[in-house]
Structures are given as structure tokens and as C-alpha cells.
């Protein structure tokens, strides 16, 4: 596959469970493609060199910096952004916990952090505080601090663990996690 520098390449991907199409020059970063071509403005662009973590999305289920990926690299991949979390305008358990624990103020960093948390909790369903802090070290928050986020993530892990043990509630859990 070749995409010349001066041409816009057609890109098709699964965004939050739906097939979406757009066009991008080879040099277009994935974050800009998601925002400006597909309207996923929950993707926030901060430092553009992989340090701040604001632009983190899931690429085939894996938390990745969308400023360090090209849109053409996401062709025929599955991308999930913060827009995937709420269902029918109801925030999912993670978002509700962030709200409850005052884990955000301005919210600029939050959408990336939430996506990291999504993959992290799948890989590490019963984390300790040190593991949560290690995961959050891949993100910069400059107004709230991290204590509320740590508490929110640990609480969601406990809640999901408890629901796992109550099989009749399994369906409700799955519905909050798309």
C-alpha cells in the first residue's frame, strides 16, 4: 500500500463500533483525523509528542497515543474513544466514579485517562494503588492531581469484582462497558 505525500488517502475504520470513512494525507496524525474528519472531539490534543497522554485512544483495544500514530496506520483498525463509554447519555461506571471522586476539574486530560483506565482494568482487574499510580504516570493532569483518580479506579475495580461474583448482574456490567 502506497500513499503519496500530496494525496488524501481514503481511510475506513471502526470508530466506537461503527464503520466510518474519511480522507487523510499520509502526514495526518490519527488524533487530528479523529477530531477533524470524523468529529470525535473527545480526543484531546495536548503535547503532540507522546508525553501528556491527553490523546490516548484504544487501537484494537490497546491504549495508544493517537498523536504518535498516523491516520493511514489506523486504516481497517478498531478505534475506541471516550465517546464509546456512555450509553444513551448515561455515563459508565468509570466516568461516574471520576465524577464522584472529583477526579477532574477542567477535564482536558480526562478523556485520555479514561481510555487508559479501560484497558488497564481489563488487563489488571484487581489492581493495587501502586499499579494504578504507575498506569496514571503515563498522563499529565495539571489541575486536579491524581488522588481522586486513584480512588475512582480502585472503586470501579472493587465494584466490578463484586458484580463478577453476582452472575445475575453480569449483563448490566457488560452494558456499561462497550
Amino acid at each position: 500500500m502506497r500513499a503519496p505525500a500530496d494525496q488524501r488517502f481514503p481511510i475506513r475504520l471502526q470508530l466506537n463500533g461503527r464503520t466510518r470513512q474519511g480522507h487523510a494525507e499520509p502526514r495526518m496524525q490519527l488524533c487530528d483525523f479523529l477530531r477533524y474528519e470524523l468529529g470525535a472531539t473527545g480526543v484531546h490534543v495536548g503535547c503532540e509528542h507522546g508525553v501528556c497522554g491527553a490523546c490516548t485512544v484504544l487501537v484494537d483495544g490497546v491504549a495508544s497515543r493517537s498523536c504518535l500514530m498516523l491516520a493511514v496506520q489506523a486504516h481497517e483498525r478498531r478505534i475506541d474513544t471516550v465517546e464509546s463509554l456512555a450509553r444513551d447519555d448515561v455515563m459508565n461506571d468509570l466516568q461516574q466514579a471520576f465524577s464522584r471522586h472529583h477526579a477532574l476539574q477542567c477535564g482536558f486530560c480526562t478523556s485520555g485517562i479514561l481510555m487508559s483506565c479501560v484497558e488497564f482494568l481489563e488487563r489488571v482487574p484487581e489492581p493495587d494503588e501502586a499499579q494504578v499510580r504507575d498506569m496514571l504516570s503515563g498522563h499529565l493532569c495539571r489541575c486536579t492531581g491524581y488522588t481522586g483518580m486513584v480512588q475512582a479506579v480502585l472503586e470501579v475495580a472493587r465494584q466490578r469484582g463484586a458484580q463478577q461474583q453476582a452472575p445475575q448482574q453480569q449483563e448490566a456490567l457488560e452494558n456499561t462497558h462497550v
Binding site: 502526514r27 503532540e48 504518535l68 500514530m69 498516523l70 496506520q73
Partner: protein, 275 residues
């Protein structure tokens, strides 16, 4: 903060990548995980004409044990090594160093060979490769396949022995020697930041191989005695590295870290827990 324009080529095999490198030379850059190169492109510190994406080259994803080495192909991600349960037995130094590399979000995409090819003086994987006496495999379309010792491969800041038409196709880490204890330590402003000083040690009963990253313009390895002569040898090693002052740390502090953490790393009791 947007890259300059380039042609993008997604290759399906190593040979296809080598063909493009043969055609375009230093005008072409290989992209795998992109965790270093994309930042460089975004800041326009590099402006290649052609970007060669090797993520879909099936023959660059090998991760095998062969001839006493762990062979890591060019497109193998750092997370794949971290998830490899046998790594702690195969290459324990690498298993200890991997959690220090960036963050889990960057290890998800960053590759082992990409870190080697980038050659940041403070990077953990080049330091491990030098300390263990590993090798870098360089391939080109017309030239011979070269296996370069890591200590010769790294030549300075972001500078290596790779020729413009060559691909870092594999790196080889020697498997663990049961008579050696492997240790890793790092000091950074925050966990996951670039190391002020990174230390990797292969400890034998009579001597130590100590590798230092983040101080000189490349990882530096030195054989040191154990026992009463160690402090003097560490001091001489620290001064030999040509430490520089920068915004994060003074040269004197870096030398102090080499001496003090070097001594701790070598003399401390065996780790109570696997790290």
C-alpha cells in the same frame, strides 16, 4: 508540531522494506511503533521523503530463542516482551528494565528494535543490549547481512553504525548465565521519564560488568572489581563518562548517582522480590 509531508508505504515483507531503503537511502525512515520517530517527525527534527511502515511485515515479528540468544524481530513490541512469562528466566536483566521504559501506553506500541535504532543515550533497551554483550542485525538489499556487537553499534547521540540502506532487522540478547546476577536501577524526574542515570549490572562472584546509560552520549560498559577496590573503580568510571550539566541534573550529581547507586546495586543483597 505537524510532520512535514512524506510518502507513506506500508510493506508486507522485510524484502519490500529493504527495496525501498535501497532506492531512497537516507531519505527513507522506517516506522514501527513510532513512539520515538513520530515525536521527531511532529517536531520536524527529521523530514524524510518516504516513511516505511513495517508493522504489517509478517517476517519481522519473530520472537524466538535460538543459539543461546533471544532473537527479537524489528516489529516486536515492548509489551510483547513484558507479557512473555519466560523472559524473567531467559533475559532477566531485560525483564527488570522493561517496566522503566516510558509508560504502559507507550510500551503498547513501542518496539524493541525501534528503541535500538533510535539510540537515545538514556534509553533502557540499548543499555541492556550493551551490558549483556548483545548484537544488532543489519540487513540491506545488496550488502551482506551484518551482526554488529552492541558496543560498536551505538556511536553517539541518536547515531549508530547503521548505513542508510540498512534495516535493523533483529536484535539478539544473550540468554542468562546461571552464575550471574542481573540488576537494573534508574533515576528519573518522574517514573517513565528519560533517565538521569540508568544502571545495569551483571554481577559475578569476582567481578562486575556495569553498564551506565543517560550520562555519556551512548551506553557505556565497564568491568569493575568487587570488594575493597570497588569504590575507587566506580569513581574512575563515573569521571570517565564525560557527564554534562543540563536543566535536569548537574554533572556532579550524575557522577554521584553512578558512584552511589552503582555501589548499592552491586553490594545489596539479592532482591527479595522479582521486579
Amino acid at each position: 508540531m505537524k510532520p512535514a509531508a512524506f510518502d507513506y508505504v506500508r510493506v508486507a515483507s522485510k524484502r519490500e522494506a529493504l527495496e525501498i531503503l535501497a532506492e531512497h537511502g537516507e531519505q527513507a525512515r522506517i516506522i514501527a511503533g513510532g513512539q520515538s520517530l513520530m515525536a521527531v517527525l511532529n517536531m520536524r527534527l527529521a523530514q524524510p521523503k518516504v516513511l516505511v511502515d513495517i508493522n504489517h511485515a509478517g517476517d519481522l515479528h519473530d520472537l524466538n530463542v535460538e543459539r543461546g540468544h533471544l532473537l527479537v524481530g524489528a516489529a516486536v513490541r515492548q509489551v510483547e516482551l513484558m507479557d512473555r512469562a519466560s523472559l524473567a528466566d531467559e533475559v532477566p536483566l531485560l525483564a527488570r528494565a522493561l517496566p522503566w521504559i516510558g509508560h504502559f501506553q507507550t510500551r503498547n506500541r513501542g518496539t524493541v528494535c525501534g528503541s535500538v535504532a533510535h539510540a537515545d543515550p538514556s534509553a533502557e533497551i540499548p543499555l541492556c543490549l550493551v551490558t549483556l554483550g548483545g548484537r544488532v542485525v543489519l540487513e540491506s538489499l545488496k550488502g551482506k547481512r551484518r551482526e554488529v556487537p552492541a558496543a560498536e553499534f551505538f556511536q553517539g547521540v541518536l547515531t549508530t553504525a547503521r548505513r542508510p540502506d540498512e534495516l535493523v532487522s533483529e536484535v539478539h540478547f544473550p540468554l542468562a548465565d546461571p552464575a550471574v546476577r542481573y540488576r537494573f536501577r534508574e533515576v528519573a524526574m518522574r517514573h517513565g521519564d528519560f533517565a538521569l542515570v540508568a544502571l545495569a549490572a551483571c554481577i559475578r562472584d569476582d567481578a562486575v560488568e556495569l553498564g551506565i546509560g543517560g550520562v555519556s552520549d551512548r551506553p557505556v560498559l565497564r568491568r569493575l572489581p568487587r570488594g575493597a577496590e570497588l569504590p575507587e573503580a566506580l569513581n574512575a568510571f563515573a569521571w570517565s563518562l564525560g557527564a554534562q550539566d543540563d536543566v535536569h541534573a548537574s554533572a556532579a550529581y550524575r557522577r554521584h548517582l553512578v558512584r552511589e547507586l552503582g555501589r548499592q546495586l552491586i553490594e545489596e543483597q539479592d532482591h527479595a522480590r522479582a521486579s
